[in-house]
């Protein structure tokens, strides 16, 4: 992604209200799935409106970032606002074990799906 004409750093500063980090931003993984819990309403920040429209079906944080053409760190801040106000919910990835290894049932599902590709 290259920053578009309306994505200059000043604008990214503005859409996040100048914050560079949200308290819970580390809880939003790239593949955390975001789901809208309400429709956009008049007066909402335009990025929030777009996120609520996009996430009518589950959408990963990284997809929201690509669609908005904004860095993941900026999108995490936008999403944490919407999460705080209950306008979206987050479906977090199930953690893999400490040894980095997923359970074998899940791997079997992955293998089956890959074979079907």
């Amino acid at each position: 992604m290259r920053l578009g004409p309306d994505d200059d750093p000043d604008r990214l500063y503005t859409v996040t209200g100048g914050r560079s980090r949200a308290a819970d931003d580390l809880n939003l993984d790239l593949v955390t799935l975001i789901v809208s819990e309400c429709d956009p309403a008049p007066g909402m920040q335009s990025e929030h409106v777009r996120i609520l429209s996009m996430c009518r079906h589950p959408m990963a944080v990284v997809e929201v970032s690509a669609e908005l053409r904004m860095p993941v760190s900026v999108v995490r801040i936008l999403l944490s606002d919407l999460l705080d106000s209950g306008k979206v919910t987050a479906r977090h990835p199930r953690p893999v074990t400490a040894a980095h290894l997923p359970d074998t049932d899940l791997l079997k599902e992955v293998l089956d799906a890959l074979h079907r590709l």
Binding site: M1, R2, S20, L26, D29, L30, V31, T32, L33, R56, H57, P58, M59, A60, V62, E63, S65, A66, E67, R69, P71, V72, S73, V74, R91, P93, R94, P95, V96, A99, H100, L101, P102, D103, T104, L106, L107, K108, E109, V110, L111, A113, L114, H115, L117
Partner: protein, 218 residues
Amino acid sequence: MHSTASDGGPGAAPAPDAHADPSRTPLRDTADNGLKIVIVGGFGVGKTTMVRSVSEIRPLSTEETMTRAGVGVDDPSGVEAKSTTTVAFDFGRISINDSTVLYLFGAPGQERFWFLWDRLFAGTLGAVVLVDTRRLDDSWYAIDRLEAHGMPFIVAVNDFGGPQHTLEQVREALDLSPEIPLVACDARDRKSSKSVLISLAHHLYSLSAPHETVKAAP
């Protein structure tokens, strides 16, 4: 300092505008668990090509920006030296079942990228190191870092039609441990890229269930 790491190579087509794609397929409403696999490698090695070969959506790209305090943070003058690094990466996706969706990330393997690894790719199932035999030294750093992170991985040699090397020669040149799977592939080919991912999944399976076996690919 501002640096950008991206994959594409000279002559790569410009990224199509995501907004111009009305056909992007939404996930099922029951989707609730995202998995990650990372394809890592040097510049122009074919990471995006591999993602494209197997993804159910046209690959998308985005970037992460991170500012880190430089040397001299404790400087009593209070002046912090900071550097901002932007890492661009591509991704695609494969739906596994009603609840699980696998995201494939193509990520640059250059040294300056790795401080973002924990933030971006923590919880990743495993990685594919994609290798161009003409530029093997691009892979050493990535292999080294994956080992340091304890991240399971396999190595896939992308065929660029150059001089042929046997996998044994590549294994030796990369100083790769015998337990790390090494496969040859053509990243442009769906079947070939699919079999790379299957090799990784088998490897993960053998690590997770050392006493079980799983049927080999047909």
